[in-house]
Each structure stands twice: as C-alpha cells, then as structure tokens.
C-alpha cells in the first residue's frame, strides 16, 4: 500500500463506526409482533419535559415516541397494541453516565498515563448479565467507559442496555473521553505524575498535543492550510472532542480537583465536560460550577462527614442548596450495582434533595450531560421509545419496575420474565 492511502471510508471506520461486515441482519428480521405500534396507558406519566400527566398515554411507533398526552385527548389509532398499566407510573428510561459493566471489563491499560488511542468499543458485550439486571432496574442507556487507573483511560461508548447486536444497541461512539484528575491515577512508583501537580501537567500536555492536531486538521479542511496533516490514530479521536461534539467525563473530586477540571478542561481547553464524581467537599466550589453551567453527575459516594459541624451531608443536596441545577447521580457500576441507579437518587433525596429533581437527575440531566438528549432522557415526541413502568414513584424504594420498553420493544415484563429486581 502506498503511504497515506487510507480511504475516507476507512477513516470513518477508524473513528469507530461499525463495519458493515459486522452488522448482523437481525434488526430487519425482527418479528412483526415486536414492530407493532404500542399505546401505553398509565395512571401518571412523568415526562421529564413539563408537568406529569395524570391518566396519560404514550403512543409508540417505529421505535420512537409518536404522541404523549392525557387519555382523554390522545386518540389510540386502530391496530395499536394497548398496554394498560392501570394506576402505575410511566417514566423515561434511566440514563447512567458512569458504567463499567458494558463489556469484557478490559478497563485499565496502565502502562502509559494517557491513552487517547484506546477504546472500549471493541469489547462491548450487549445485554450482558449485568445489563440484563440493569434493565430490570429501569436503566435503558449507559455510558460504558474505561477506568480511572490513568489520567486518560480512553474513549467510552454509549449503549442501550437491551438485547441486540452491537450496531443495534450503540447510541454513539466515541461516546465520551475518560479523564481521571484526582486520586486513582496518582503514581508512587517513580514515574511522572506522582501527585496532583505532575498529573495535571500530564493531562494538559496531552490535551495540548491533541488540540494542535485537531487545529491542523481544521485548518486543512477549511482551506486555511494546504498542508494535509498526517493521520495519527493516537490523536484521531480528539477531533470530535475538540469540536465539542462529545464531552469529557471527568473523574474529579474535592474542591481542588474540580477547580483544576473547570480551569483546565473547561476554560483553557474549551471542552464540554461532565463532573463525574464531584464528591467529598466538591460542592464547596458550586459557585464556579454554576458560573460555567457544567453538569455534576455525582456519586457513587452520596454523602460526606463534615468535621467542622460533625454532620453527615448529602453531596447532591449540598450542590442543590447552593444553586447547581444541572445535577444527577451515578453508580460507577459495579461499585454500586447498575440496577441500583434509582437507589442513588433515593439516597440523595433521603439526604435532602428534591424528588422531582431526583427523577430528572437519573433521566434528562445525565442525557443532556452526555449530549444525547435529542434521543433519550424524556418522554417527548420523536425521541427513542425508552419507557419504564413502575408501581409508583421510582424514588420510593418500595416501588419496583414492572415493564421496560427500549426502542419501542418490550424487553422486560415481570409477567413473563419474573421480577428480577
């Protein structure tokens, strides 16, 4: 092969989109039964896009939400299969920003401190055992990411939790870049990055290299420069990142950690960021978070003992009290089992968060953080039909999920599958 001969098609594939070869034809051969349009009736429809609807109905067609409204206003067309949930609650599928159980678990490649060439896409296992239980907990979308063993673990993939081949469940790849800026990647073995100073120097240095690479390509593609840069696979996935098409999910905690995240990743590098843990005394920097309007998807640790006042404080409640609105929770599964995402919200409410916001904090707010709110996170016309039916408010741990619909297909129904969670 001659140098530089990588076809445009190959390039698209390099970015991680699926080879047509790998595509199973299952999607087209899905049974007609599953493609039947649905009318889902519930006592309360929590849309996460406006007020809840009492005695509401959601029409589902072609995997998408076709209509939503009160049963008195929305007419059910002929031929729709009616799923009458009585007085149960209907809500959008739950969205997890911080999941490590989406594949084979090859998460930490720790020879180098920065690994922007690595990707979890090649080891995704759709609908694996952990994700099957996650479905039973109402979780329909997860962001499967590398671990925090290094400063830059690689690129994660956003997946649906339901059955199917990779191409059926993949929402986006690259989904996010994983950066760890606190704690875990600090090294004590004599290599660079022994503490916060060195570690932050390493992250900045790697991002500078990536930004220069993307700028060179942007200049070439916009005609500002006639010199075609060399393709460097190690830096290639920085393109969607610096073009602000995907966010960085940051393992960052504590006041200092979040300050470094905001100033370096948000201010200096102009990246879309998600504060991925935000724990310990991180909420003390809430003013800076609000000023930049970045999301805090907190957890898995939900509380902090404050030695000054001798009290236990809820992490999310403290952000909330200080005025942070773009808030959610995560499980960091398997640290907290993936199916217990709603319990994270429950505990945040126990520590003082508001129930309504807590429901948004496991649906639309994480969806916005991942930049997939055009597809999931709320019950709105045109979005993916990812629906969860629960015996009541999912924030009350006495309630449980009875049915889950993903992309318009019933993937969990306790009447058939028995109650799994």
């Amino acid at each position: 092969m001659t140098p530089n001969r990588i076809s445009p098609t190959a390039l698209v594939l390099l970015l991680g989109l699926l080879s047509p070869m790998a595509a199973a034809q299952e999607a087209s051969s899905a049974e007609g039964q599953e493609n039947r349009p649905l009318a889902v009736l519930a006592g309360k429809v929590i849309t996460c896009a406006g007020e809840p609807i009492v005695d509401g109905v959601v029409l589902v067609r072609g995997g998408k939400i076709e209509a939503v409204g009160p049963q008195t206003e929305v007419e059910i067309p002929e031929g729709y299969e009616v799923i009458d949930c009585g007085d149960k609650f209907l809500m959008p599928g739950l969205v997890e920003v911080h999941c490590h159980v989406g594949g084979s678990g090859d998460l930490n490649e720790m020879v180098y401190q920065t690994n922007p060439d690595l990707r979890v896409l090649d080891q995704v296992i759709p609908h694996n055992d952990a994700l099957q239980v996650a479905v039973a907990g109402g979780v329909t979308t997860v962001c499967y990411i590398p671990g925090s063993g290094t400063n830059m673990g690689g690129f994660g993939a956003i997946l649906k939790t339901g059955p199917g081949e990779l191409e059926d469940v993949l929402v986006r790849f690259p989904g996010v870049l994983k950066i760890a800026q606190w704690g875990n990647p600090e090294r004590r073995d004599g290599t660079l990055g022994s503490g916060r100073m060195g570690m932050n120097w390493i992250i900045r240095d790697q991002l500078e290299e990536g930004r220069a690479y993307v700028r060179a390509w942007d200049d070439y593609e916009s005609g500002k420069s006639s010199e075609r840069p060399e393709i460097d696979l190690r830096l290639e996935m920085f393109k969607p990142l610096f073009r602000r098409e995907i966010p960085v999910l940051v393992h960052t905690q504590g006041y200092q950690g979040i300050q470094a995240t905001l100033e370096m990743l948000h201010d200096a590098m102009d990246l879309r960021i998600v504060i991925g843990h935000g724990t310990f005394e991180g909420y003390l920097i809430s003013d800076e978070v609000i000023r930049r309007n970045v999301p805090v998807i907190a957890g898995p640790r939900g509380f902090r003992f404050d030695p000054d006042d001798g009290q236990i404080h809820g992490i999310v409640a403290e952000y909330d009290r200080r005025g942070v609105e773009w808030l959610g929770v995560n499980t960091d599964s398997p640290v907290i089992p993936q199916e217990e995402l709603s319990f994270q919200a429950t505990m945040a409410v126990r520590y003082g968060w508001n129930e309504e916001e807590a429901i948004r904090g496991i649906t639309i707010e994480p969806a916005r953080a991942l930049m997939i709110e055009d597809r999931v996170g709320s019950i709105e016309v045109g979005k993916d039909a990812d629906l969860v039916i629960c015996t009541g408010s999912i924030i009350d741990p006495r309630n449980y999920v009875t049915q889950v619909i993903i992309d318009g297909k019933v993937v969990y129904d306790i009447a058939k599958d028995r109650r799994r969670f």
């Binding site: 092969m1 001659t2 140098p3 530089n4 001969r5 990588i6 190959a10 594939l13 390099l14 699926l18 080879s19 047509p20 070869m21 790998a22 595509a23 199973a24 034809q25 594949g103 084979s104 090859d106 998460l107 930490n108 490649e109 720790m110 020879v111 180098y112 690994n115 060439d117 690595l118 990707r119 979890v120 090649d122 080891q123 995704v124 296992i125 590398p146 063993g149 690689g154 990779l166 090294r187 073995d189 004599g190 060399e230 393709i231 696979l233 190690r234």
Partner: protein, 411 residues
Amino acid sequence: MSRRRPDRRCLLATLALIAISPTARAAEGDVLVRAGTVETVESGPLRPGAVLISGGTIAQVSAEIEPPEGAEVIDLGEDATLMPGLVDADLPGGVTGPAVEETREITPTFSPLPAVDWSSRAFLEALAGGTTTGAIVPSSENVIPGLAVVVKTAGEEQSDRVVSRDAGLVITVASDPASRNRSRTRPDSIYVRQPTNRMGVVGLLRESFARAARGADPDPDTTSPAAGDPYEPLREAMAGRRSVLAISRTDFDMLTVLRLAGEFGYAPVVYGGHEAYKVAEPLASSRVPVVLGALRVDRPFGPEGTELIWNVAGILHEAGVSVSLSGGDLLDQARFASRFGLPREAALRAITIEPARVLGVDGRVGSISPGKDADLVALDGDPLEFTTAVRWTMVDGAIRFPKPDPSQQED
C-alpha cells in the same frame, strides 16, 4: 491421535503389511493401494477404490486400476477406508522453547521454522493419528507474533518436510498478550509494556496496521528491530496477497476481527472460534473461514471464560462458514463434531481440504487427487466410527507410521 493400543489382530495385520511396505524404497517403483472405500474428499467416495502412487505422488485414482508392471500392491480389504493424510491447521507442539519472541509485541516477520524440533514427539503423535501435514502457528502471547509455517509430520530431509514457509500472518485478537504484561513492576522488566488488557491489544493492532498502511517507521518500543521492513507482511495482507490468521475466541473479539478487516482490507481466518456459533451470520456473510480449536465443553473455559458448545462446527457449517478442526486428535474431533451435528462430508473436509485451503497448501495436500502428494491414511473401518483405528500413515509415498520393526526388516 488415538492412544488406544491396537489389538492383536490389527497388530499382526500391520506387521504383515510392513513386510511388503514401500518404506525403504519410497521413490522407486509404483505402489497400488486398494481399499473397500476410498474417501477422496473432493470427488466423493469410491467403493471400492484404488490409488496408484508413483514417485511419492498420486498418479491415478479410480474404482479399479490394473497394477503396472513391477508395482507393489497393498490390498487393505473390504472394510478398510483409505483417506487423505489429515491436515492440522494448528499442530500442537513441535517447537523447541517458546513459539514466540518475548521481547516485543509486534514481530510480523518472525517465523517458527528455525525453532522446529523435527524429531519432536508431537510429530510422531500426529502421524499415529493420521495427520500428515500441520501448521506451526506462533503463540498468541504476542499481538502480532509472526508467520505460520506448514510442515509434513514425517520425511527424510528437514527441507523436504517444509510445505509452506508463509501460510499467513498471525495476529491475536484476544486477551492473551496481556496475560504476562504489567503496568507497574520492576522498572527494568521487559514486561512493563502494553498491552495489559484488550483495549491495548486492539490499540496496538490498529496502530501497527495504520503505520504500515501509510509507510511510517515502525515503533521501536513495540516492534521487532529488523534489517528489512517488519511491516511488509501487514502491507501484503492489506494488498490481499496474504491471509491473516486471527487468534480469537469470544464473539465480540471475532466482531473486532471483522471490524479491523473492514478498516484495513485484509482477509481474515479466525483461529480458535469458541463462540463463533454466536456470530455465525456475520462470519458467513464476510466469507471468513473458522479454524476451531480442540472441541470441548468445559464451561466457562479458559482465561476468557468462553462459552463452548458441542455443535459449534455444525452451526457454522449450516450458516455457510468453512470449518476446520485443529489442535490434535483430528479423527476424534471429527467424530465428536459429527456426533453433535456436523454432516459427515463436512466433518471429513474439516480435517483435510478445508484446513489445506486455509493454509494455501491445497494444491499439494488435503484430498486424494492425481498430482497431489501421496499422503494417505489407511483406516480399518469408517473414519467417523469411534472404534476405527489407524492402520498406517503414508507421507510422500512412504509409510511412516507405524515405524518399521527392525526385527522384521530382513523379511
């Protein structure tokens, strides 16, 4: 290989045959072998059948052949089957020391040939089980361990035993290379290196193919220092002039094999394929042959916890995938595969012509056809019957198993 001892009757028959066998004078004179059944593999069974061998090569195959003047005639009898020497696409053993260069991950030009122990017991065992040709595949401990070679399991001269010095570029799309590497240990250890997990394995593969594609210099940290160009085999593969033998066992790793093949345009063969039954459709539509590792159903199996089922071969065959069985004991494997769903004809092909094609040596071995090497196995019954034993194995016209008994040689 069948480790069962031959019974007395069989032993006597064998000894009697040795007395008239052409062992000592392989290249001289013609030999005619008659059997109740000749499984030619490529042109159906002959019942009865006869094979004429001349100068170590198959000269004629027919239901009945008049023996030429001076030819030796071996009549195996009505119950016997004559079939092509078996081809093992992943012969176990046969190499002295590790079958991989341990100090680098990317060693595409490295060959196991100089490390082959020609008198290894592995060859004798293969021969006793009817295997006459085998591929020596470098070990999966490297991300790109090197080239596969194909050898005969017996022969006078070592150089005559080499069938192919380059049967494909071996790559690993599995977690194996990560098993011994560590991110942090003694700083002077060579094992402080990528990959330490699957992300690193795929990362190194993609990086190597991309560098090869654009003609970049090899990465000295990962790649073998070579006088020539270590990426040449990768470029040959991308140009379609060389197959890529991808060691891969889980379903998602096989999808990665297909994805990388799509990105870089090489033609892969899957080696291992434990969970191939889960991805039979994409394998079939991409026309990717599968060389199955030794069949078993311990569950979950191996470091990757793969889920094995008995009928993986049958499912692949039904989906239209070329299936080869490998890893030793080929007759027993074909029997098990057939017992659990692989049709008879496919089971026989899976240990002969299919692996020969995968390795690019089907012009010489893999079936009983005129012009091919006279590699034959004489069986005392049907090949897929569990009670059937190997009577003798012939390589290049000479019976190499059983070894001639010195006390009988004067007869």
